[in-house]
Homo-oligomer: 291 residues x 3
């Protein structure tokens, strides 16, 4: 890679998230909260509870990684600038007269810009999580992956758990199975950055950050424009499932035995002709998600 | 303020909670547990589980603040004196023949005395929480407020969560919204003590402790005598909601827009003529509580 | 006790758990997971989720004790050897063609051997937990008991909680009461080892480990061979309940009062003629368990 390219990626990897990208992240998170049914009513009746939920949406990933590393979950409250920023955004979005913000946000270009910038912050969070976990456990690359993942995609877990406690969300056994598209991409990124951090990838960090961010943003934007869920990881998953779990299918002799495996719900039957079905299931999941 | 007054408040603020006020706190908490339906039967069938629940009722606030600060939640088990005291009170209350204790407790004066002394411990807990959090984060006044609040009123959160896990309590979306009267007063106190601790209030700590305790006890006792819920904070809440969320109502042009805000349950419609209704809702809440 | 006996118990107490006993523990845990309805289907659809659940089954006790002591719950991920071992066992058990492993495991002798070895690891876990807790709180013998118990029997708590979050398990009020047979034995062991550690028992640690392990294994094996639940602790519980809660029954005068105690479900009435019933209830519980 040439010097100008390196310069570009270096300057990119040194971009500060603080004012603008964080704002985009907060806006997208709070708008996602507001679009939940009844959220606006809650904000009017009990602003404190609504504010608390909004903070969970904005800082959930950090809170989860704090819990997983046994750090004070309240630490995010010590950064008053970010709290103030997120709170004012929450206030504007929920209490702006005539819902001006919601109307402005309803235009696709605005959404695209905000979502793209939010994806950029995701890269920074993953890198931060991996580095932070490495400061705890030198060689604990599993922990590094987990923390990077938690920082990047953990917000949804925290908010889902909060909804569970509030009773807004009744879990179903297979709900848990569905790993969202974002979670998968974040996991992939966390793995890559971990291996880069342990020098198992022959690529410099700033290059990886640049490329991974491009990857994130393009996928997000394409998914938002073409409402159809493009599934960049499906082939990868397919290959993996073939490699790991597919070869059992070459032994037809014990189809019956696998049939007799204990199973309550339908999908188990698909276990006997698995990998293709697995891919199908995956597609179905995405279809469900985007409906 | 004169010297005798200062002496009074100083001696008051130096009162030790240990033998008597703690006992009152344990008695009130365990009696609250026993008055839950089926609690007595549980105590007979599985004393260990009942004892554990009683400990949660007695030390819930401390446990919650420990979790929030990533300290061992089991630390409360190291203070053997308090555990022994709470356990013996639990034993006496649940297994005293002929329910003598319950009968004695059923007299209003006894209840008033116990409840009043319990409120005194609340002040001490809030102050302890604020000071403790300050030892972690020098300027983290948000954390100080949160920890003071958790110590003072967190017991109910812990026990509610335990009931959720046990399945005794099925959460409803709006259950979560109702902030109990006590929680609000405790939050107010936590805010005041935090600002006092950061020298933003021109009042010495012992005076504030004295006045706030008087405030707590009078409100509690009045609420217990006149079964009617007097709502000292309603006007404050009303003013606040007018200041923060009321001014949108001056723009009648976008009533329709606010109507069209996504909302599942009725209350959202009340959002369009909010502040007065908010106060009404609050009153309704209290009415529900005291029925 | 003579020298050969001491030598025997010493060498026994110095046995390393690592390769074989841990394998047995992982096999038993993962098989228990696989025998849950639908687990196999989950493994095919979403291997990652199934792997995560398997890890919770294998390392749940350690995770719980980490949470209770405010240590990073992810620490178990740093021991790569154990993770690799457990993961490969999970992979073999779930994806072995023709379910060879399940078939091999279906023979009683194999199950007996595996279960027996798993019980051995339980002793080691309890001792480890007690010692670890003692390094935190010198005289906190309550904490030592709790941590030893959590390490030894906490896996079931963690997995139950996971099922609750996943919605596979709907809690009922009395579910929580039932303390499993294993939990009771583990609690007894944790108490004994704690008192041994604080020198309140006149027996050396290696002897206690040896005897307690024999006790565990024999009970487990007998319970598996004679499907009938033998309840070695029932008499002990009976005596205890008589001592602690039985003497109230000598005062017949206040039967009526105890009847009037608030209670939603039937069992409360049994409170008035408690201890015998308590034993019955216990037996009923075990009967339920083994059906």
């Amino acid at each position: 890679m040439g010097t100008p390219w390196d310069e570009l990626t270096l300057t990119f990897s040194r971009t500060s998230m603080f004012p603008f990208f964080d704002i985009a992240h907060y806006v997208v998170s709070v708008m996602a909260l507001k679009q939940q049914p009844g959220a606006a009513a809650v904000a009017w009746q009990n602003p404190l509870s609504s504010w608390f939920t909004a903070m969970l949406h904005c800082f959930g990933g950090g809170i989860l990684s704090c819990i997983l590393l046994a750090e004070p979950p309240l630490r995010f409250l010590t950064n008053h600038t970010h709290i103030l920023l997120a709170s004012s955004i929450w206030y504007i979005i929920f209490f702006c007269p005539c819902d001006l913000v919601s109307q402005g946000y309803s235009y696709l270009p605005v959404q695209l810009l905000a979502a793209g910038m939010k994806e950029v912050t995701r890269t920074w969070k993953i890198v931060g999580g991996v580095t932070h976990a490495n400061s705890y456990y030198k060689n604990g690359w599993l922990v590094m992956i987990a923390i990077g993942w938690a920082r990047g995609a953990g917000g949804s877990i925290i908010t889902t758990f909060e909804q569970l406690v509030k009773g807004d969300w009744k879990p179903k056994g297979d709900e848990w199975l569905k790993m969202s598209h974002t979670a998968k991409i974040t996991l992939l990124g966390s793995v890559m950055f971990t291996f880069q951090h342990t020098d198992h990838l022959g690529i410099s960090k700033h290059n990886l950050m640049f490329l991974y961010t491009i990857f994130l943003v393009t996928i997000k934007v394409t998914m938002m424009i073409t409402k159809s869920p493009l599934v960049p990881l499906a082939p990868l998953e397919d290959i993996l499932s073939r490699m790991l779990f597919g070869w059992q299918q070459q032994i037809p002799s014990c189809e019956k035995k696998t049939e007799t495996r204990p199973a309550s719900n339908g999908p188990c039957s698909s276990a006997s002709e698995a990998p293709v079905d697995a891919a199908d299931d995956a597609k179905k999941k995405y279809a469900k998600k985007t409906e």
